[in-house]
């Protein structure tokens, strides 16, 4: 799917609306759904990885110095990471 969904004509729909490119869900920006964004406080984070484990969309990954952050292309802002964080290092901040 190289075209945005809104530009696809019915003539371009594959037979039976099948997904013919495996893994093309990667191109889908679920980050568009987000109204709240997780923000990490490095002073509180103990790098335990609970946020990474609980993220239902596998949108959290490890970055430099073993801290974690969300990939905002996919993060839907569900807030589970903030709810599960043991030290309260993640805060949900409203998107502007």
């Amino acid at each position: 799917m190289t075209k945005p969904e809104k530009e696809i004509s019915w003539k371009e729909i594959p037979i039976g609306a099948a997904s013919i490119e495996p893994g093309n869900a990667m191109e889908y920006r679920t980050g568009d759904w987000r109204s709240m964004r997780p923000v990490w406080d490095k002073n509180r984070c103990v790098k335990c990885g609970v946020c990474f484990i609980f993220c239902p969309d596998a949108a959290i990954h490890k970055v430099e110095d073993d801290y974690f952050e969300a990939d905002l292309f996919y993060c839907k802002g569900c807030g589970i990471c903030a709810r599960e964080c043991i030290t309260g290092a993640i805060k949900m901040v409203e998107e502007e």
Binding site: W10, A17, P22
Partner: protein, 391 residues
């Protein structure tokens, strides 16, 4: 050519599935379709048909299994009736949307309640809008021929849609008729092995029946609608090829003594045979009536229908199901919709009759002609009638 042999139509239907070399069959027995499933399971069990026969616990599973079989590229058959069909309802919509060329015989039977095992069209009319190509057979030979035809149409890469053959329960399914089964080599030439355009295979992974967001759903449905509309010429072509192969030619709209007639009956399914007898009887009495049989119900052959009725002043439409709270029976409503905007629109008189196997005799059809004329004279043709109901 094969020889004509007296056999039960259900057995003939199962033998036709064998001739078509179906590879997967998943079905659950239900009256009046049972003999088809039973005979198919025997054919597979005794090695006459090299197919997977998958016994299931319900019709919902039967059609789900058929989906899987067809999705991996197997020639797939199933059959059901009434309550069983109702139980597979959810999957009936999914099959054409995923463009799976499954063939199904629906042995038409009324829907509960009250419970009835007998024939009418309330089952098929409830699934009219599922997206299947829908045909009506008038006799046993037509059922057999159309099993072969159905696979030919369904599997055409330009079509790729499921085909449903409607056959009146008991009136056809349990009747012993002289039936000609074509020879296997003739069928093999007409119906080569299924060659799927796309299928589930580990070498080329695809996902079928995934979800569509609102931005895409309308486009998927438009594509599906265009698929069934554009299947029409391939349906006609397949009938031509079938005719050239077995010598029996079929049309989307069949006519009987209809040329120039001012009054025409419109029927679907086995009732057409009785109406033909009624027309012959009326002819002797000087009552001029013709018959139009709708063989292809979806996609509806609009042009062919309008051409067939162009000389008529009165159309007497026989409905075998009720549209509760609607304007008339489902076929009558359809015909009125087809006629709207036509010049010289004939009067359309709808009769609902033959519910749950109640007999409708040639005499009844003669009576309907009288009632129809009377209604048109009084300008009351819009009011449909449940024929023969006791007041």
């Amino acid at each position: 050519m094969g020889k004509r042999v007296g056999m039960e139509v259900s057995i003939g239907a199962a033998e036709a599935v064998k001739l078509a070399r179906a590879e997967c069959i998943a079905a659950y027995p239900i009256t009046p379709q049972t003999h088809i499933v039973e005979h198919l399971s025997e054919l597979v069990n005794n090695g006459e048909l090299d197919a997977e026969f998958i016994p299931v616990e319900s019709e919902h599973s039967a059609m789900s299994v058929c989906c899987g079989c067809s999705a991996v590229g197997a020639r797939t058959f199933t059959c059901t009736s009434s309550q069983g069909m109702a139980l597979m309802n959810e999957i009936l919509f999914i099959v054409p949307a995923m463009r799976l060329p499954i063939v199904m015989i629906l042995a038409n039977r009324s829907l509960s309640s009250p419970l009835s095992i007998w024939n009418d069209h309330s089952d098929i009319m409830s699934i009219r809008d599922t997206g299947w190509i829908q045909l009506f057979a008038e006799n046993g030979q037509e059922v057999v021929d159309h099993v072969l035809f159905a696979f030919k149409v369904a599997e055409n890469p330009n079509v790729l849609l499921p085909v449903m053959i409607n056959m009146d329960g008991f009136i056809l399914s349990h009747v012993i008729e002289p039936i000609e089964l074509p020879d296997q080599d003739v069928v093999d030439k007409f119906l080569p092995p299924y060659n799927p355009v796309q299928r589930l295979h580990p070498d080329h992974p695809i996902t079928m029946g995934a979800f569509a967001i609102p931005d895409l759903f309308t486009e998927t449905k438009k594509a599906q609608e265009e698929a069934i509309k554009s299947s029409f010429p391939y349906i006609i072509k397949a009938w031509d090829e079938l005719g050239n192969t077995i010598g029996r030619y079929y049309n989307p709209i069949e006519k009987y003594k209809s040329e120039g007639k001012k009054i025409l009956f419109i029927t679907m399914g086995s009732f057409g045979e009785t109406v033909m007898t009624a027309i012959d009887m009326m002819e002797e009495k000087g009552i001029d009536v013709g018959l139009i049989r709708i063989r292809l119900w979806r996609p509806f052959p609009e042009k062919e229908f309008l051409d067939a009725i162009k000389d008529a002043d009165i159309l007497i439409v026989i409905d075998r199901a009720i549209t509760f709270g609607g304007m008339a029976g489902p076929v009558t409503t359809e015909i009125r919709s087809v006629l709207y905007h036509e010049e010289n629109m004939p009067a359309v008189v709808g009769f609902i009759c033959g519910l749950a196997g109640r007999d409708v005799t040639p005499k009844d059809y003669e009576r309907m002609v009288e009632i129809a004329k009377e209604k048109v004279k009084k300008g009351k043709e819009k009011e449909y009638e449940i024929y023969g109901v006791r007041e």
